[in-house]
Structures are given as structure tokens and as C-alpha cells.
Symmetry: D2
Subunit: 167 residues, 4 copies
């Protein structure tokens, strides 16, 4: 896990799937949040990141550990469409909430990706019950280690998380 601890920036989304209303991190305090950034046209996202996000969603109680997918379109902009993502979600039977990252008029990197300083996809961010970023990685992640990190975060009460974050 990272040594420096900072608040997870709020998500900026163009649109959402698998939820009847937009999700705000501020509304998820008290839960552990797994933010899984991916692209449909990124091979490692499709082979590793997305199936792992689905496994996390199926393994933990969603109101204790909430998985959020983020389609962080930072390349192949002309190839992406909301219809494509919708079909992908249907075909891969993804059940967790997924946002399209808000496009940025100033450049190719969409807003949420920019705020988190993600360097590509797949990227994974673990956010504790108080809203602090506790892990942030690029690329494929080992299930056993990730499970341990999520499992450890679930054991933190909000009070304990506060102490850890302040340490």
C-alpha cells in the first residue's frame, strides 16, 4: 500500500451503467471502494482488470465493498462509444456500476483519470471507509495480495481508518 495518504478525488462521469443514479464517493463513506479503471479496447483490461473487478463484486457484500468501474478513454477516442460499452457490459455480464469518465476538452485524458493521475489502464484504486486512497496501481494485480488488502481494509472501523490515515 502507498505510504502517503490522500483523499480520493470525486468521480466525474459522463454517464453511468448498472445503477439508477450516479455514485459519489462522498455518498459511500463507511464502505471500502474498489475503483477499477479500464478500456474495452485494452487487452490487459479485458483479460485481467475487468474479470477481477467482477470477481471482487461477487466475493464481497456490495454495501461493504463497493466496486466501481471507470471507462477511462484516454486513447482510441474515435473508436469509443457509449453503445460499445453498453454491449460490452451485456456480453461480459458485468453487474457492478460502471461510469464513463468525463471527457476533457483540453486534451485526451478524461477528467477522473487526470485527477487520479492514472498512467494507463487497467488501473486499480483502493479507497478506505473514510475516503482515503490506500492503494493505486497500474497493470495486472495478484488476486491473493489484493484480496488480503481488501480484507484488511474491511476490518477497519471508520475510527480505526482515521487513525491509520493520520499515522
Amino acid at each position: 500500500m502507498t505510504n502517503t495518504v490522500s483523499y480520493a478525488p470525486e468521480l466525474l462521469a459522463h454517464s453511468w451503467f448498472n445503477t439508477d443514479r450516479p455514485l459519489l464517493l462522498s455518498g459511500l463513506r463507511g464502505r471500502v471502494v474498489v475503483l477499477s479503471a479500464f478500456q474495452v479496447l485494452c487487452a490487459t483490461s479485458v483479460a485481467c482488470g475487468v474479470p477481477q473487478a467482477q470477481r471482487i463484486h461477487e466475493t464481497f457484500a456490495p454495501n461493504d465493498v463497493t466496486v466501481i468501474g471507470l471507462h477511462a478513454t484516454f486513447e482510441h477516442h474515435d473508436a469509443f462509444s457509449a453503445a460499445m460499452l453498453k454491449a460490452f457490459i451485456h456480453e461480459y455480464r458485468l453487474k457492478f456500476p460502471i461510469a464513463i469518465d468525463e471527457p476533457n476538452d483540453a486534451g485526451p485524458i478524461p477528467h477522473t483519470m487526470d485527477r487520479y493521475k492514472m498512467r494507463g489502464t487497467p488501473s486499480l484504486v483502493l479507497i478506505d471507509r473514510l475516503g482515503f486512497v490506500r492503494k493505486h496501481t497500474l497493470g495486472a494485480v495478484d488476486d491473493l495480495r489484493l484480496g488480503a488488502e481488501i480484507g484488511a481494509l474491511t476490518q477497519e472501523s471508520c475510527a480505526a481508518a482515521a487513525r491509520t490515515s493520520a499515522a
Copy 2:
């Protein structure tokens, strides 16, 4: 392999990638042809069919065993675009020729898929040196068995293939 033997219908393509000119089966007589039909938004295609096609392309000499990809868009038409396929080919580093199946004004099934009576994706068709269909399957295919079938077809001279096809 199938018992009934029929000529492989000619391909009808909207456009091609990884080749500087359209491929016609009639121009490939004397070679074994592996026709691999897939869709970018089909999970089994992406996990099994497409990587297997790439492995075949890398395992055999292309002028002896020619792999042709066919993007058979029979669903999610609004989600598909040539730009999406182009990005997919780039990201998955596919090197074999790939055609977009010719859309059909009369319905959702594109023309080549219709001619071959493919029932979905991934579909795999083995065509012998004389142009006869020798195998036609839907879904994931075992590498060992498929390798054996391709290896057997490569040993047929055009004359031998003629005898087998006539049997």
C-alpha cells in the same frame, strides 16, 4: 471433420485490414485456409477464437496455411465501427488479414456469415487446398485437435485433396 463436403463460398467483405488488397479464396487455391469469424464484443471470441487464430498464424507458414479473420457483425450493430476494429487489431497486435463481413440490408446477418450458415461467433472453418470446407465449428476449439486437423490438411497435395473431397 464434416462428412459432407462442399466448396467454401467466396468471402464478401466491406473492408480489409492487414493486407494491401482484398483476399479471394479463389486466389488461395493450393493453400490451407483457416477462416476465423469473431466479434470484438463477443467474450469467447476475444478470450479463445482470436488468440487461437493468431497462434495459427504464428505457427504455420502463411503461404502454406493462410489465416483470415472475419468480423461477422450479427449483433450490436450500433456498437460496431471500423475504427473500433482497427483499434482492436492494434491493441491485440493481430498480424493476419482481417475482413469486415459485408453488411446485409435485408437483415442483421452479414453476407459471408449467411453464406456459410454460421450460427454465431467464434466460428472456425477449415478449407483445404482445393477450396473445400473440411471443418466448420461454433465455439471454442481444442488446440491439439485443431493442430492435428490443420497438420493433416497440409499433407494433402491438391491431387490427394481432390480424391478425399470426392470420396
Copy 3:
């Protein structure tokens, strides 16, 4: 995890590998212990249980999460020898402590396996910092879920473990 909580019975070993002295659970209080029972001649042990035990050993700090292998020879007694296990440990490059379960003159089930009421191999037992059994399963186990369970146990102080076990 199991609902009923009981103390983990002490290990009874014929001999040990990868440690210069026998391990007693009573000497490991304060640590999480992963007890991984296997047999060299059990296919699921070799394909799943043993590599997972090695991954756990490599993922966690051994003095926080201690992995112990147990060769629970309950079948093929005539095929087993300490020399065979020694060669297996060498060839599979296993680094965690491994015991040969104490044979039982009264029957085929060795003593530790009998005490734990293991029904076969691979079997996995999670023991918390106070020495209570918190999970006990037969067969292959999912990495993500197991990681979460171990990660959660690592967050328990001895005091917290006491409260949980007493609940």
C-alpha cells in the same frame, strides 16, 4: 468462515522439513497460521493446494502469517516415503515448513488429520492469533476470497481475536 469456533488441535508430526526444529501451534500464538494439508500423490493438492500455500508464504511476512504444510498420508501408504517428500520439496522449490503427519497404528488416517477431522486432501485450515480455527475447507480454494480472509485475520489484535472468538 465457520460459525463454531474451537481451538486448533496441536500438530503431531513424524518429521519436519524446511525448519530446524518442530513447530508447535502453542509457540505461534500472536500469528495467523495457515495449515495446508496435502499429498504428493493427490492431483488437486499438486495443482492447487501446494502452489497456493507457496504463494501465501511469499505474499505475507512469515512471522505475521505462518504457512505450515502437512503431508497427510491417508492413502497409498506403500507409495509414500520421506525421501519422496524431500525430493518433491526440492523440485517444487517449496520454502515453508512442512511436516509429515504422525502415522496411526490404529488405522490409515494419521493423527493430525484425525484430530482435525479432515476428510481428504487438499485441506486448508486458518488459525487466528489466539489459536482458534476460523476456516476449514476441503478442495481447491479461491485466491481472492482466501486472501480476504487472511487479510482480515491479520487485522485482528490478540484482544480483538478474543472478542470475535467469544462471540
Copy 4:
């Protein structure tokens, strides 16, 4: 495949499993023979070589492509026993004939392994219908390529094999 072609040396076996009489290559002329050398205490044999041999046995008609396993005990002699191999064959549900290579009083390398100049396990040897060695490799082998090589050999008549071997 190898460029130089030589007759496959006859097998020398201490004992056999899964067959009611010893197999001689001279008695298998007309068939393609896949000789798969392995050791129970060799990780790559167990993970790759042995399951692949079983797949070959299940994919091809045994009287056309005959798989023969060879337990080539060249290390860990004190750990090996016929009882161990018998239990392994039972647990892994192997159905093809398997020989224990004949031990060599003069050194650690058993006789068949020595005759074939195998450098370790797993080793794989493809023998054509006339009894010539056509492939000989050490280590894990790709299913697609191996399937193609076996499939090609099956298409050779004895007469054709004679021409190829003489070339």
C-alpha cells in the same frame, strides 16, 4: 522436426502399467508413436508433459497414434518406487501404457533414456509409421504445433514415410 532421421531405438523396460504385455516399437510399425518421458517428481512433467500425453491419447485413435509413457528415473532414485508410480497413474487417471525405464547398473541414467540421449524430463519423441524418429524435444511443448506434427505424420502412408525418411 529434426533434419537427421534415425531409427527409434527399442524400449527397455523394467515393468509396464496399463497394458497386459510389454510393448515393442517393432510391433507398432504402421502406427505413429508418441513417446512421452516423465518423472513423478518433476514439476514440468506433472504440469505439462503428462497431461499433454493424456490429451494425445484421448484425441487420437490409439491404434493409429499410440502414446507410450516412460518413467525415466534419472534422479531421486531413492525416492522412486513402482508403488509410487502405480498410485500416480491411479490418481491422475492415466490410461495409456507406461513403462518404467530399465535401471542401469553403470550409472544414474536408465537404459532407454540413455539410448535416446534424452537430456532430462519431460522429453517427447515422435516416431513415424516406419519407426523413424521425427521429433525429439526437451521441456514443455505447444499443443497446436505438436498437434500439427502428429496430424501430418498420420497422413503419411508407410510408403510415403519411407520416401520422407530417405530424403
